[in-house]
Every structure is written in C-alpha cells, then in structure tokens.
C-alpha cells in the first residue's frame, strides 16, 4: 500500500546532489546553490487569490494527473547533540564523557521530490506511465533541476529518466490522501485469536516450569513467538493492501474528476444564489439550463484547468 493507495501513486524520491561545483558564466557555484536557484525559478502556479490570473504556468499543470508535487533540498540531518547518559551508569561503565561520540550525517545533500499522481496501480510499469508523461510535458524543467544530481548526466531519454527515478525512489511509508472527507469503513483487526494463543503459550511455559518437562516451556516460548510473528505479518499485510479506487465512501479522486467537481460546485453556488425564491417552474427551467451549460458528466470540457485557483 504505502506507495500506492486508492488510485494515487505517492512518490518519494531522494536524489543525491553532485559533489562537484557547477560552472555558470565562468564562475564556480555550489551545486546546492545552483539547484536551489533552479527550483526557485520554477513557476508555482496560482497559490492564493492574490496571484489569481497573474501567476505564470506551472509545468505540472501541463498535464492533468499530478495532484501535488514538491521539491526541496535536504542539506543534512539535524544534529541533536550527544546521546545523554545517566551519570551514575556512565561512572559504573567507565564511559568517559569527554570522548567524542559519532556525529550522524548524510553522505551528501539530497534533492527530495515528492508527488501524488493518478495511477492505474502501484507497479513500476504504472509509475513509469506517470514519469513518461512528465518527461513529455516538462523535460526542460526536469533536466534543469536533476542535472545537479549524481548520476543524472547519463540520462538521455524517457526510459533513462524512469530508471533514474526508480533508482532514487524510497518507500512512502505514510501517504496522505486528502480527498477522503469521511472515514472509510475499515475492517477491525480481530486480536482475540492472537491473545488467546499468547495466553495458551504462556500457560504452557508456566505449567512446564512447574511440572518440569523442559520441552513444554520451550514449546510455550516458540508458540508465543509464533503468535507474535503471525499477528505482525497479518497487520502488515492488511496495511499493505491499498484502499480501492472508489470504495464507499469512495471519493472519485482522480484529478479530472476533482477539477470538474470544483467547477460544478462553484457553478451550483452561483445557480443557487440566482434562483433563490423562484417558483418551481422557473427553478425547473433554470436547473435544466444549468445542467446543459455545466455538463456534470463531461470531464473534458466546462471544467477548471489544473494549476489555477477557482475561488
């Protein structure tokens, strides 16, 4: 489940930043500097009502399957200082508090790219479909950014880009699907069989000790371990199963549907305002005209383009 859930592919990419400096206009520049420069130059599209109509095109808005995309540079992990130790314990173990501890560091700065795409499934082929469309629509921007990452120099075509992204991909352990306005009905995990099995195993262990049959405690311990392992695997397997694309209360959350829904919602608000207080006949006619103009089932036209705020 983690990378794929309910029709969405949640991509997390960590691409190491190149260690060598970048030569720009005869001047050497830090790669992190150059990379941040490239990111800052990327148009963000409309983000608030204040930028409505004035924001330049966001390259992700050239296609209609990206819900969310974010790039940032992860310079390093934050150093939290020494691992604290109780003074008494340190004295007994003869730990010298003046001995430097290891300082955790990342091997390089990383470019982090996270995105939420509409995808047919969670396989690599499904991901490649998304990446190919990105490469088709925003190759220039992707190259301008990823050229500062280690190993990207060898990428020359779409297949190479897909392979590169898959290589740098890490598992998205906590996807965030923000179209679920209601809690889906989830199957409650029945813990009772595992608790009973655990109690039985513990009982075997104790009885075995009392009546001193050495194989009994061993069997008890094995049983206990087995119950824990089975329960753990069951829970992880349940977690790995993606939510279906449109299970009740399935949101119908692919981007074209979401954009259409926003357009219809806005149109319906205007319709409701215009028609309040009208008699039934006038309302009926107005609603017919509204449906004809809005075409709620038609995702392709009379819809909100991606990358803009409708307000």
């Amino acid at each position: 489940m983690p990378n794929y859930d309910a029709g969405h592919y949640f991509l997390t990419v960590l691409a190491p930043v190149r260690p060598d400096p970048f030569l720009v206009a005869g001047r050497m520049q830090s790669r992190r500097h150059a990379l941040r420069d490239a990111l800052a130059a990327m148009p963000t599209g409309e983000r608030t009502a204040a930028t409505q109509g004035a924001a330049p095109d966001n390259p992700f808005a050239r296609s209609d399957f990206t819900h969310f995309a974010r790039f940032f540079v992860l310079d390093d992990v934050v150093y939290n200082g020494r691992v604290p130790q109780d003074g008494l314990v340190a004295a007994i173990l003869k730990h010298n508090p003046l001995t430097p501890q290891k300082i955790d560091r990342l091997s390089a700065p990383f470019l982090v790219f996270t995105a939420d795409f509409d995808a047919a499934g969670g396989s690599d082929a499904d991901l490649d479909c998304c990446l190919l469309r990105l490469w088709e629509t925003m190759k220039a921007e992707l190259t301008a950014i990823f050229q500062h990452c280690l190993g990207f120099a060898e990428v020359t075509d779409a297949a190479g880009f897909c392979a590169y992204i898959r290589k740098c991909r890490v598992e998205t352990t906590m996807p965030f699907n923000d179209y679920w306005s209601a809690t889906p009905k989830l199957k409650v995990f029945d813990t009772r069989p595992y608790i009973y099995a655990g109690i039985a195993a513990a009982a075997l262990f104790v009885i075995g000790l009392f009546i001193w049959r050495p194989w009994l405690p061993v069997l008890g311990l094995l049983g206990l371990g087995g119950a824990v392992v089975v329960a753990y695997r069951k829970i992880m397997a349940a977690g790995a199963r993606p939510f279906p694309v449109s299970a009740p209360p399935g949101p119908g959350a692919d981007l074209p549907t979401v954009l259409k829904a926003l357009e219809v919602q806005r149109g319906f608000t205007a319709f409701a305002i215009e028609t309040q207080g009208k008699d039934a006949h006038a309302l009926y006619d107005a609603f017919g005209a509204f449906i004809a103009a809005t075409r709620p089932d038609d995702l392709a036209s009379a819809t909100q383009p991606p990358g803009v705020i409708g307000v």
Partner: protein, 563 residues
C-alpha cells in the same frame, strides 16, 4: 510485588493540597479584569505619546504610574454618598508598544524575548489580520500612518482615561483633570510628546463612548448597543481569580469552559489572560526575561474599526426583501431582524438565536424581560431583587451551547458569535448523539474584549467617524487574537464554509457570501446572502504590552534587569 508497590506508594511524597492563591489584584491593571463600560465608565479617551528620550520616557511613566487604576476589588456602596468605596471617578490605564519599550531602552535580552507578533506591531501583521484593501494601513488615521515611516511619530505609550458620567451624559470633570495631569507629566518629561492625528472632532485623543439614550426624565444613560444596532460585549470569558467566589459562580455561566463529560461551566485558566500564571495547556505562557517584569501583565491589540452603517443598512434592506419572499415571512421587518440575527447569532437585543430561533420567540422573550434595559441603566443603585433578575437574564443570554444545533439550522455555523467563540461547536464529539461535548478546542483562543463605540451614526451613511474602539486582551496575541482574526474571522475551514469570511467583521472580496442553513427537519431551504459589501474597516491600531504596577515601577526606575 504488591508489597513493593505499597512501599513505593508510602515513600512517594504526597501531593501538596491545592492552596487557593488569590491574584495580586493591586499589581494588575484594572482594565484586564474589568470591562469599564459595564462598570459605570461609559466614556473613554485614549491618548498616545511618543518617547524621543529614554530618560524623559522613564520620568513620564513614573509620573503617571501613580494614577494607574489597579484591579483591586471595590467596596460596598456608601448609602450617604451613593459612591462605591475604592472606585475612582476616572480609571487610568497605561499600555506600551514594542517600539515604546525599545524607546525606553529596556535591556536587549528583555526586548529580544518578546513575542514576534508584538515586535512586528499591528501594521506589519496586516496580511494575517485581513487588514488589506480598504483596511490596509495606508488608509489608517494620520496618527497611525505617521508612525509607520517616522520614528518621532511612532506610537509608544497609550494612556486610557475611562470616565464616569454626570446625569446629563457628560463625563465627570475629573476627566479634564486627568487630561491636564497627562499634559503636565508630558511637559515635565523631555522628549515625550502627545501624538495627534485622530480623525474626528478631537485630533489630540481618540474619543469613545457608549451610545447614550435620553430617558423621559431627561437623564442620559449609556446603552450597550453599537452602531449596527446590536447589543455588544456579552460573551466575554471568565477566568480563575477574576471574580470573588460568589460572583464567579454567576459570571462563569456561558463564559468559562466546558469539560467533556462534566456538567457546568468552569472558569478558564488565569494564564490565558495574565502572564506568569499557568494557562489552559498547563504551561506558563512564554515571556521575556525577567519574569518579575512580565508577570501580572498581558498583551493588548488596540484597533479602531470603522463601521459602514450606510452599506450595512442598505444591504440588510435589500436582502430582507429576498428573504421575506424565500421564507414567506409575514413582514419585511421580521425578515430584516431574522437576517441580522442569523448573521450575528444574536437578535439585536442580545438574545441568542440558539435560545430563540424565531422572531416571534425573540419578541416574546424581549417582552418577558422588558424591564432589563431599565435595570441595566440603574447601575449601582440596583436593588438586590433587580440584581438577581439581571443575573437571571444574563444567564439566559449566555448559557447555551451548540450541541443541539450541529448543522446550524438555528445559529448558522458561520454566524459572527459562533465563529469568534465557537464554544463546543468544534468538538469532534459534537455530532455524536448523547455525548456531551467540551470547549477544549476553543479554550486557548479566547480574548477579553474591551472598548466602546466612537462617533455618531445618526446619519446612516458610510462616510464619517463612527465605529468601535476594539481592544483584545490575552496572554498571547498570536495564539488568541491573531488566531481568531485569521482562522475564524477570515478563513472558513474550521467551519466547513470554504472561503466565506465572517459575515459582519470579515474582509469582503467581490462575491462575498454567507449561507443561512436551511432546516432539514422543517423543510426550509438554505438562503445565501450574496455579494456582501465590506461592513467593517480597520482605521488604525497597534499591539501593546499592559505592564503590571511592578513593571511600571521597574521601567520608571530603569531597573528592568534580565540577568
């Protein structure tokens, strides 16, 4: 094992008994505990000063701090004089802006420890507060604009003089004596100047006053109405230590907090409103060093809010016509009053729409309690019986919650009082039948509101000087005042109302609307108020620190020492 546990219990120190400790009222400024308007001081003058010389500024603070009114309890009424023991004729309070504290040359560590919003000042927080468009600082009164660019006109000190009135409605002569005292203190303090540039009749000070009413006998008495006609100042919070026990039991109703699953209202933690005391998160509010300087002080947002009464009346009239048709109401007046009540959450009399959902019910209640305005106007000469009746009325208009109105069929979810004080409305348990919801999600977002109307709105037009001097007092301007203003007044997410801003106080972008929910049970359709104009505009303001009396002394002595 049991023996060990018992031994552990025996060895563990017993928790100390909960010793009630009264607030040091003589150290706390009086306006923190008392909304002066409700305590018989209906006229206020706000006077602002600039400090160009730290020594002069310290001298000025020293000279006026002796006149500052603390929060001490007042005594009983003297039958012979009719006066309350300890109650002054004019209550004086002092507040200092961040730039004022810097001008007084407080230590860098103290200044640097101040909250960032206080350091920023109100004008810099414009985008957070919704002070854009017609409310933008560029359009504020000259006194507020001038300080944005020139140091010598920055607003540093605010002195508020709250005066009682004579039977003819004019302020007591002691108010002029107070003004003279301020002028004298300023002239005796090098570099301290009184700032001018208030629009209206008095450029030297901001005048504000309750809207007065003339009684048949010729006496003039203050009312609790504001320029749109609503009764103001009802839903103020109550905190631990604000009142004596007996009074607290009355005042806490509808004004404190509700705890999930427990009956009754409880006072909020003192630390939500006064620094140096534990707050609702069971923490001490973060403050600058030294603590002795911040303790018993608080922060205050001062705002001059202009009211577009002409637009308001015209919009209400136009929408009432629509609403009357849509709801099939008997009269235009009923439609208009219903519309206004839905916008605010209270009928103009102050009766909550949760208690009286229909106009007829509101009228009936107003009739039952027709004697209340007269009792309110009596002030301290109320009899015990009248006080009891007033308390019963106050209980009626404050003791309600939203647990029986989840969808806002009675009080719309975006109505002004439900947004700015959501009570239990944000509790996730609210919609669960039978579960008593609590106010945990609003306990840390409460503000003490102080202030009064200014100007005259008898000519019902937008232009002119009329509005309200609004003051919000709280331990954290960021967590409380700014949160309410940004998240609840201007954003709709908390109430699932999209981009709709507060119908009364919110910014009006083109197409602003407000939805009056229909009643699913009664079959009434929702009504949408569309294309709302801007009703309220900011005309000035600043963030201030309200120091304790101790802190005022430290400033005057130059002894603020964070080391």
């Amino acid at each position: 094992m049991n023996g060990l546990a018992a031994l552990g219990r025996a060895l563990r120190p017993r928790p100390a008994p909960d010793v009630p400790r009264a607030l040091d009222l003589a150290d706390i400024q009086g306006n923190i505990l008392r909304p002066y308007g409700r305590f018989g001081f209906p006229v206020t003058r706000h006077v602002f000063f600039n400090i160009a010389n730290a020594a002069g500024g310290r001298n000025f603070i020293g000279l006026i701090s002796g006149a500052v009114t603390s929060a001490e309890r007042w005594g009983a009424i003297d039958d012979a004089t009719g006066l309350t023991a300890g109650r002054p004729l004019v209550a004086v309070n002092v507040a200092i802006s961040y730039r004022g504290l810097a001008a007084l040359e407080l230590p860098t560590r103290t200044l640097a420890g101040m909250p960032e919003e206080f350091i920023d000042g109100m004008a810099k927080r414009a985008s957070i507060l919704g002070d854009i468009g017609p409310s933008a600082p560029a359009g504020w009164d000259p006194i507020w604009r001038a300080g944005l660019t020139a140091k010598e006109t920055q607003v540093h000190v605010l002195v508020s003089l709250n005066a009682r009135i004579l039977p003819d409605g004019t302020p007591v002569p002691a108010l002029e004596a107070g003004m003279a005292m301020l002028a004298q203190a300023a002239s005796a303090s090098p570099g301290v100047t009184l700032l001018t540039g208030h629009l209206g009749a008095h450029p030297d000070f901001q005048d504000s006053s309750a809207i007065m009413r003339r009684l048949p006998d010729g006496d003039v008495v203050p009312t609790a109405r504001e320029h749109f006609g609503f009764t103001d100042g009802i839903g103020d919070p109550t905190f631990v230590g604000q009142y004596e026990k007996a009074a607290e039991a009355v005042e806490v109703i509808g004004a404190g907090k509700l705890v999930q699953g427990e009956p009754g209202w409880k006072p909020l933690a003192t630390g939500e409103f006064i620094l140096g005391h534990a707050n609702e998160a069971q923490e001490l509010p973060p403050t600058a060093e030294p603590w002795s300087f911040m303790r018993n002080g608080t922060f205050m947002a001062y705002r001059k809010l202009h009211q577009n009464v002409g637009s308001f009346d015209a919009y209400a009239d136009a929408q009432a016509e629509w609403l009357q048709t849509a709801y099939g109401l008997a009269s235009r007046d009923e439609a208009r009053e219903t519309l206004l009540a839905k916008m605010v959450g209270r009928w103009r009399s102050g009766i909550p729409i949760e208690i009286a959902p229909s106009h007829a019910q509101a009228l009936a209640l107003e009739k039952t309690w027709a004697d209340i305005p007269a009792i309110e106007m009596k002030g301290e000469s109320r009899s015990a019986l009248e006080t009891e009746r007033l308390n019963a009325y106050n209980r009626l208009i404050t003791d309600f919650r939203y647990n029986h109105d989840v969808d806002g069929a009675r009080c719309p979810v975006a109505a002004h009082i439900r947004r700015t004080n959501p009570r239990d409305a944000l509790d996730p348990l609210l919609a669960e039948n039978g579960e008593p919801a609590g106010t945990a999600l609003s306990n840390r977002r409460r503000i003490l509101r102080r202030g009064a109307p200014y100007g005259d709105s008898t000519r019902r037009e937008d232009a002119g000087e009329h509005g309200v001097i609004f003051m919000a007092l709280c331990a954290s301007l960021f967590n409380q005042f700014e949160f309410v203003q940004q998240q609840w007044v201007h954003y709709g997410a908390s109430f699932n109302v999209g981009n709709d801003t507060d119908p009364l106080a919110g910014l009006a972008r083109p197409g602003k609307k407000f939805v009056i929910a229909g009643d699913a049970a009664g079959g009434a359709a929702p009504f949408i108020c569309a294309n709302m104009p801007q009703f309220v505009e900011t005309r000035g303001g600043e963030y201030f620190f309200l120091p304790s009396l101790t802190a005022l002394r430290q400033i005057a002595e130059g002894s603020v020492d964070p080391t």
